[in-house]
Symmetry: C2
Subunit: 188 residues, 2 copies
């Protein structure tokens, strides 16, 4: 969409403004007016570069998720611990955009368009975790690894929600249990 240099710059300004607003005020604080004011841009410019307000929001969240990936290249070198750490960092780290991610997931519960976006990224993540499980425990069959991954990730997501609502909640400590928990561990 953006073809000229100025257009690309404007696009970045808009994304930065959106990111900042999401961080500071949450998803409800992000209105088109807020974005365009913050980015010092007219509404026309916005719609010249984005299809909709949500379009910009999704892009910001996508970038934030990517930023904490321990293995962005997909080299298959990330351990379970790495992945859990990355997830915890994402949820409890300085970027409040984790909230937005979970809220979007919440909207996905009734909005099929959002659900498919969220599910797609969920699937990718489950696969990453399943692979890590297999590296962690060679010989684990694929189905079993995927099931473990699903539960691991579910637990992390649930813990993340609690952590985001309760400032006193120690997500890291609980998350470590997820890997230590005998129920999720190999026998013996």
């Amino acid at each position: 969409m953006a073809r000229y240099r100025v257009g690309l710059e404007t696009r970045e300004r808009i994304l930065a403004a959106t990111r900042r607003l999401l961080s500071e005020f949450g998803i409800e604080g992000v209105t088109l007016k807020a974005i365009t004011d913050q980015a010092k841009v007219g509404a026309g410019s916005f719609y010249n570069l984005f299809d909709s307000k949500d379009d910009a929001v999704f892009e910001v969240v996508r970038e934030a998720v990517e930023a904490v990936d321990p293995d962005p290249a997909g080299a298959g070198t990330d351990s379970l611990e790495d992945l859990v750490d990355a997830f915890v960092a994402f949820m409890t780290g300085s970027s409040p955009i984790a909230r937005i991610y979970l809220q979007l997931a919440g909207r996905g519960l009734t909005d099929p368009a959002i659900a498919s976006r969220v599910l797609r990224s969920h699937r990718r993540r489950v696969e990453r975790f399943a692979d890590a499980w297999q590296r962690h425990e060679p010989g684990l069959d694929a189905i079993e690894a995927e099931h473990r991954a699903e539960v691991t990730l579910a637990a992390l997501t649930g813990l993340g929600m609690t952590a985001l609502m309760d400032p006193g909640f120690d997500m890291r400590a609980h998350a470590q249990r997820v890997l230590q928990d005998p129920r999720l561990q190999p026998e013996r």
Copy 2:
């Protein structure tokens, strides 16, 4: 608030309408107009009986959560399996209000008023699970039981989210893993 018989009846009609709308259209489908139309009531009547739209929504969700409680009297007789089953039933059962519960939790991530409501009910639930853990494994110390409860519940919440977004997801099967303790089982 309602003092006369007619008032109480109207209140019930409003709650029934809200429940129905939540079930059918999700939280976005519930507008004041929709509620009052469905309940065949004027806006004035609504605000005579409820403080706000959210007030009615919360009440409906609260009742739905209560309805699947395996031990409403709090007699302390519910087993871990009962609790997990109840949670799975709540999430995958016929009442689509589970979605609403999770969505409200999502809103709690940025709205402190909602967060405190959600956290309060979360705490109660964690306690129920912790107690059940202790009954399940006598001699378990209280802190350990609570930590297990926190993780168990987090995993169930996460699985619930996936289940609600992905119709093909078998939540029950995954949820059973959450309780499985390989150390107590001969073989998987």
